[in-house]
């Protein structure tokens, strides 16, 4: 998770600085080539530490929160089938663990809500699209 964060951060920094091609594979937005992509990312430069924090939240979401959500759904269905415990190798997943994970998921979304960060930004896997969504969001907040 940490390695992924630093790899994405490195790409993000290069994108913002215009060191990476903004368009590849014929990627288009609204039917036109994104020739002004670097300019569009300008808001990310205004306070790059916030950009870093939100990228960290996105990576954390992907590796932890989304997994917790999945585990919660699994336990819910297992309970319907009268199964109270799931064994994964040497460890187990039970109602208590599912409750703890559910609490973490709720608090994570509360945190996003408190700072008005749209979920779609945090859920974005593609670093270019993440950068674009975040810049667009920041622009609308000013």
């Amino acid at each position: 998770m940490v390695r992924e964060y630093f790899e994405l951060l490195r790409i993000l920094e290069k994108l913002v600085d215009g060191q990476l091609p903004s368009v590849d594979d014929g990627e288009r937005k609204d039917g036109k080539r994104q020739t002004t992509f670097q300019n569009e990312l300008a808001p990310l430069k205004s306070d790059f530490q916030v950009t870093e924090l939100l990228l960290a939240l996105a990576v954390f979401y992907r590796h932890i929160i989304a997994q917790f959500e999945g585990a919660g759904r699994v336990m819910k269905r297992m309970n319907k089938l009268d199964i109270q415990v799931v064994r994964l190798g040497a460890s187990t997943l039970d109602a208590e663990a599912a409750w703890q994970m559910g609490k973490a998921v709720r608090q994570f979304y509360q945190l996003l809500g408190e700072f008005e960060v749209p979920r779609e930004i945090i859920q974005e896997h593609d670093i270019k699209r993440f950068a674009w969504l975040l810049a667009t969001y920041m622009r609308t907040q000013k």
Binding site: R28, L81, V86, G89, K103, Q123
Partner: protein
Amino acid sequence: MTVATPRKSNAPFKDKSKLIASIKDFLTKNSAAISGQGAKISEFFEMCCFNDVVEFYGKNKFTVTPQQLGKTGEFVYKLKANGSHEKFSFFEVEKTDKSGVTWKFHIHHNLQLECAHQTGIFYTADIAVVSAGSVKREKVAVYNQQRSYCPAKSVQTFFEVKHMGPFPELLFSYTGLVVNFFVPAGRVKGVKHIAPSLLISGNPNLHTKAISAFVAARFHANILAHLFARPSTIYSTKYSKLFVDSAP
């Protein structure tokens, strides 16, 4: 008369220190849950997809029964390719169709499938739906150890789970699995299965969407992406996907 005061925005870049404090507070409060799950966290997405496949059969009026539960009634997930299938739990799904024919399938996690074109070579599918009772445990040709596997002719469908964003190499390489481990010929009408599918957590861009459409048209296989945001994609009728008839 009261005058409404404009709501102060809490956007992250307006009060960075508050965001940092909130993140620290969140991590402190949930450190036990996060560290307690440890290495198995990465398995949850695959487990969830496995259960979503089971949910598909449940929603299609199959009776779902967990089989081979542990000593205390726990469901034992198979996390690795190796090991006897007899030591792990799976789901049995059963349905009698309008013509009175009863269909019974087993849904396994990390089950080895034998190649459709050559005996003795295998691939471990993350999720496999096979004919009930078709999994074998035996010594195969030149190998010393026994292995649990399902012959290709008994494979109803299978799924590969990837916790990442879709990219061209991944999507095209999946088609090799479909070509080599799925037998489309000789299927019989009765009940439908989701066609072999690549299940991906991340969301596709325009290019990978185009590749997915190509894979569907040419290989009759699904690329079901963006499962984090749309977890019901696998079992919900709301999302279109390809289906296949049952292997006899």
